[in-house]
């Protein structure tokens, strides 16, 4: 009971609810939950599913009473807008890094290949990564493939590798933030009596 009420108090403080009003709401809530428990029930009998979302519940109640200016979209502090925006930004960042790394590697390989083809065929030649190069006979294209290695630009490859690694880390953070193992999932798990796994709710 006290943990739920404390969470509500924190949220009311964050939203700027005046102390006398917050105290009054906290006292009413505590008394109601204690009465339900004394009758053999639980906090869930009073609050329903709101028992797992104290911040949202507190913000909704204070907003309805008109004791805050407006309920912010992210009233729980760890859900809603922020919960969606951060993973999207991280994923976009990861995709951008991967694209840059890919462009670096392809550019490097094309340049290496051009050098290799130039060595074999002689004369100036241009090779585009996915377009049609100016190498016309198919047999020469085979030569192009076998000579793909060429002299390597190790610093460039290192930078590309680092970018790919950073992208993977950003992607992993995004997935973790979105997953049920994040803070919100852990909170729900901690407050659900008899719930031992995040994917399994106790039988009612």
């Amino acid at each position: 009971v006290s943990e739920f009420v404390d969470e509500c108090r924190r949220e009311w403080r964050r939203l700027g609810v005046p102390d006398p009003i917050a105290n009054e709401m906290a006292a009413d809530l505590k008394a109601d939950i204690e009465e339900a428990e004394a009758e053999g029930g639980s906090a869930e009998d009073v609050l329903g599913n709101s028992v797992f979302e104290p911040q949202r519940f507190a913000a909704s109640w204070a907003g309805a009473r008109g004791v805050i200016a407006a309920v912010p979209p992210d009233c729980s502090g760890n859900s809603g807008g922020r919960r969606v925006v951060l993973p999207v930004v991280l994923t976009a960042f990861a995709a951008f890094l991967a694209l840059v790394a890919f462009a670096l590697l392809v550019g490097h390989r094309s340049a290496s290949a051009a050098v290799s083809v130039r060595r074999i065929l002689g004369g100036p030649i241009s090779v585009r990564p996915f377009g049609r190069g100016s190498v016309s006979p198919p047999s020469r294209m085979f030569v192009f493939g076998t000579q793909f290695g060429g002299p390597r630009n190790w610093p460039l490859i290192l930078v590309a590798g680092f970018l790919i690694l950073a992208g993977l880390v950003a992607l992993a953070v995004a997935i973790l933030y979105w997953s049920p193992w994040s803070r919100r999932g852990a909170q729900a798990l901690a407050r659900a009596p008899g719930r031992t796994k995040w994917w399994k709710w106790p039988d009612r």
């Binding site: 009413d28 008394a31 009073v46």
Partner: protein, 94 residues
């Protein structure tokens, strides 16, 4: 609330006794808060049966007027729907 003043959890129990448990779960507090803000209920703090002082909600004169109008509106809607369903029953009946 028309039956008399009640505090939050008491109202939840009243609703549950009438088969409206989903209304009471968690949403009763914001609902009472909204009614209070709109001046449709009056509140007073009083001691409950052996427990701590509770905030009792009762209808204000404005709340009684709105309730009366709401009940009439609901009954008109219900009658209209019943009428429509009666026609359907006649059409699909044996």
């Amino acid at each position: 609330m028309g039956e008399g003043a009640a505090y939050g959890y008491e109202m939840t129990k009243r609703l549950r006794a009438r088969g409206l448990s989903t209304v009471g779960e968690g949403s009763i507090y914001p609902l009472l808060g909204r009614l209070e803000r709109d001046g449709l209920v009056e509140t007073r703090r009083a001691a409950s049966n052996g427990g701590p002082p509770r905030k009792y909600y009762s209808l204000s004169p404005e709340g009684e007027r709105v309730l009366e109008a709401g009940v009439k509106e609901w009954q008109a809607t219900r009658d209209a729907v019943d009428g429509a369903l009666g026609l359907v029953k006649v059409e699909v009946g044996p």
